[in-house]
Symmetry: C2
Amino acid sequence: MQVVTTVRELQDYADAERAAGRRIALVPTMGALHAGHLTLVDEGRRRADRVVVSIFVNPTQFNDPKDLAAYPRTLEADLAACEKGGVDVVFAPEAPELYPDGAQTIVELTELAKPLCGRTRPGHFRGVATVVTKLLCAAKPHVAVFGEKDWQQLTVVRRMVDDLSFDVDVIGCETVREPDGLALSSRNAYLGKAERAAAPVLQRSLTAGADAIATGERDPARVLDLMTKLIDAEPLASLDYMAVVDAKTLAAVDPLAGELRLLGAARFGKARLIDNVGATAR
Amino acid sequence: MQVVTTVRELQDYADAERAAGRRIALVPTMGALHAGHLTLVDEGRRRADRVVVSIFVNPTQFNDPKDLAAYPRTLEADLAACEKGGVDVVFAPEAPELYPDGAQTIVELTELAKPLCGRTRPGHFRGVATVVTKLLCAAKPHVAVFGEKDWQQLTVVRRMVDDLSFDVDVIGCETVREPDGLALSSRNAYLGKAERAAAPVLQRSLTAGADAIATGERDPARVLDLMTKLIDAEPLASLDYMAVVDAKTLAAVDPLAGELRLLGAARFGKARLIDNVGATAR
């Protein structure tokens, strides 16, 4: 496994692999790798000959400097996990490599970045779209693999890749969960014992909303009410938002119809957790 | 010469040429090709094995819908000129190919897009940066060639390519001029006979400013005053702006020092013309 820190090295690697007719998968991460990330690596390997994992805690997607400072950084363990997972190249740049002196170019989605997490975290998806653009230019992948846990991020990236004509397939992978349903997340490390015990309420409430739709509920307000009440009943949970929207456009749907996504965010102590599940209303 | 209209065709062409070890030059244009564009094609051929010319009147870089509607469209003559100029591929998409339904991703430069033409044409450089990003993703060139006549555009594109880590060399080509100094421009077609006779005052005033710097003037206000007075003395010219700035950052410099650029824009009847010249203050 190679570890490279400059865009130039990564582009040279990509050019050589492409010239040899090999396909490249990119798995963008912020490190603090867990089993969820490793399923992205496995998916990359299924779809390409080479897997590149980027590890970069992207400053521009943190709207809160304290959140950025506290974000877990575990590079040695991450490299060991990548090696074990059969990763070919880890791209681990320092911030000035992706944001050189005077850098000022932003990539922004005027609609998809606004609702849900965009409301609570202004600028977050601008940071995501900007850094993913840089990573796609640096790694020149055929395939880019993202987790479905950040559904809005996945939606933003898909739209951005289509809009900008990047020649890359964006693949979403199912969220990996603990046995009690909690989605794996690097931020779960912030949870105290009682908060950890309370946190699965987020997935339970989303699933309850999806179950209501599956059994015929078509009023989004009633689904929202159901989900919100379950979160409110948990004293250690502080609601950020719950929503049921079109899975692709993230727009409100009333009455509920088509491919839907139920999404939520809540705080448990210092940890702000997000999750989502799918539902279909025919 | 091939003419392609879809991003997919162009990407397939680029992949095949790259796989064969050939280098690609992209010359982005809005059509209405003149001798200035053909020097860009020549430069592309010197630096690459294949030359791709894009012809696309990009709607998002027109802040004025009347300007967009009136912009000269001369595709047949353009194709003949490209064929004669030894172009390998013309990419001539319809607008929905680059701006599909629901497209919403913008690329923006937070500083370089603001002054000069950015002040008079709000949103112009956002449109330029966005469409150039798309064209780079579609044509996958090794080299992209732009004219120096749009100096601010060239500066914006260079910065954007660096910031987003596009693996492409941006080449600027010297402005081609009529014998009386007027820069070639597709918009010169709008000039009436008297306006055409008056228009070289723009280059004359910029050159007078550069001459003043060459002979020791270091006060930007005096250079500006000199240039502005020359424009004001021409009854058919209506001044938009004149400026002397750092050639790379487009920032004000006082006292004048280093690599400078003198830029101006003025209206002659229906035509808004721009031009610029360089100067060095040591």
